[in-house]
């Protein structure tokens, strides 16, 4: 639990880990946008190969990546079931019907695409967070959004709030454990009773936690003031983020792949026949 602040980061020494976090963030957004351009199974298959290749290069165990899908299993199932049940297509397409349930062939295809889309959508950011620490991400976000500060959006403040929140999570988790133990020692019962009763039992934990959080915030503010903090004004950073050759290379790879997907989708230069060949191959 103490490691919440490093998120699901998986330390390894790979090219992907070493890429500029700003670039990784941009690439991840490109990837997500790209997913919405895909309409064929060929496209999804290509993307799956692409993301699996990324996982392989990043040296993160595949199992760790797939574990992140556990959280969305229900979402995927729910989407699939609803699509299959409520899709109304051509009567000729009807595969099976009983009572008010009608299942069409197109519904199955649609549901399959939808499921693939959700899964691939989640895999992109998963690779990002497995190879980038939350601190790097907040830093990257602050630097990427810096232009917004010229239109009075408090980018630096938001970034520092995020990094302090990340920093405080383990401390608060520890504190919660302590308070729970202290209340148990006084005879508090957290384990029995129905859901409502148990929720109510958490009250004597939450109140001290809130009080101490405010005190902590106060002290942290004093400590920050004492260390010459005055917002973004005149502040420099120790770590310089510099784009290197490998960042450009990574960008080119992503852009090229995006282009391929667009080619498939819009059949530019009448290149659609390639897709057909690939599709037949499957």
């Amino acid at each position: 639990m103490k490691d919440v602040s490093i998120g699901q980061y998986y330390p390894a020494n790979s090219v992907i880990h070493r890429l500029d976090p700003r670039l990784k963030l941009v690439l991840c957004i490109m990837y997500i946008v790209m997913i919405f351009f895909i309409q064929t199974f060929t496209g999804y298959a290509l993307t799956a190969v692409f993301i699996l290749a990324l996982v392989f290069i990043s040296r993160v165990p595949l199992l760790k990546v797939l574990r992140s899908l556990k959280a969305i299993i229900f979402l995927v199932l729910f989407t699939v079931i609803l699509t299959v049940l409520f899709f109304r297509g051509n009567p000729e397409d009807l595969l099976w019907s009983a009572w008010i349930i009608r299942i069409y062939k197109a519904a199955l295809i649609n549901a399959g695409k939808m499921a693939l889309r959700i899964i691939l959508l989640v895999l992109g950011p998963t690779v990002l967070t497995l190879t980038t620490t939350p601190v790097e991400l907040t830093d990257a976000l602050e630097r990427l959004l810096k232009p917004l500060s010229y239109i009075k959006i408090p980018v630096h403040e938001l970034a520092i709030i995020m990094s302090i929140a990340l920093r405080l999570i383990p401390t608060l988790v520890e504190e919660t454990d302590k308070i729970i133990s202290a209340q148990k020692a006084r005879g508090a019962d957290f384990e029995s009773g129905n859901l409502f009763k148990r929720a109510k039992a958490m009250l004597p934990v939450l109140i001290p936690l809130f009080v101490s959080s405010f005190r902590r915030a106060d002290e942290l503010a004093y400590a920050m003031d004492s260390r010459c903090y005055r917002g973004a004004k005149g502040r420099t950073r120790m770590k310089i983020m510099r784009l290197t050759f490998k960042d450009f290379a990574a960008f080119l790879v992503m852009a090229a792949f995006f282009f391929c997907i667009l080619l498939l989708r819009y059949n530019w230069f009448n290149i659609g026949f390639i897709a057909e060949i690939i599709a037949r191959g499957f």
Partner: protein
Amino acid sequence: MSLIEFEHVNYSYNAGTESETLAVKDFSLTIEEGEFIALVGHNGSGKSTVAKLVNGLILPSNGTVKVDGMRTDDKDKLFDIRKTVGVVFQNPDNQMIATIIEDDIAFGPENIGLPPKEISERVDWALECVGMSGHRKGTPFRLSGGQKQRIAIAGVLAIKPRVIVLDESTAMLDPVGRDEVMKVVKRLRDEEKMTVIMITHFMEETLDADRIVVMNDGCIVLQGGKEIFERETELETIGLDVPPIKRIANKLRAKGVNVADGVLDAETLAGELCR
């Protein structure tokens, strides 16, 4: 001109309400460059308020506080004052800003606006000062209390202040951690020639100070070198103990054993007794 000057400072919490309490009363103190001052007092004596007054975290209700000639109520000077005086607080967990040690220590120098290379050098230097060089890339969560507090000290040192104030920085630590922090403090005084203000309620920690200032109820009641330990009864009435060895020496003398004045450590006392 002294480095730090308190002139007739009053400070009250919750001013203007029913629960108004005067924490510091008519407090005057001057501290010279390079001095090691120990400020002692029991809980609620107002000593931590003094720490917050030094670098303008709070402003006096009456009177003035000056750091290197700059008044703390001058808003334009506050930044320079905080570059001059660094404060380390009691709870190391509440002073960490970042999840990685080097980022945390870099926070101060980053705020001053130093170039990246110099910040990195200062991080190295500060970590070395507190004897934690190997932990640069680590996280503070797995460290012991003493180590965390040394990181907090390094975070203040990286700003290169002339004065370091330790506001009960050892109070939450175990004896080992306390020892670690005290060693660092002594080193800063001896090797970096820093001015140190050590705020504490452990009398043992005042032994290395050039001057001991005893506070009670917001006022200075005693001030001086180690000779103040002779006034054991006076200290006891305001809730402070003299250091344990001194207490033994005083008790022995009361029983008629010939022990010289100014015995403060175990070896000297043993030497005295074996004479």
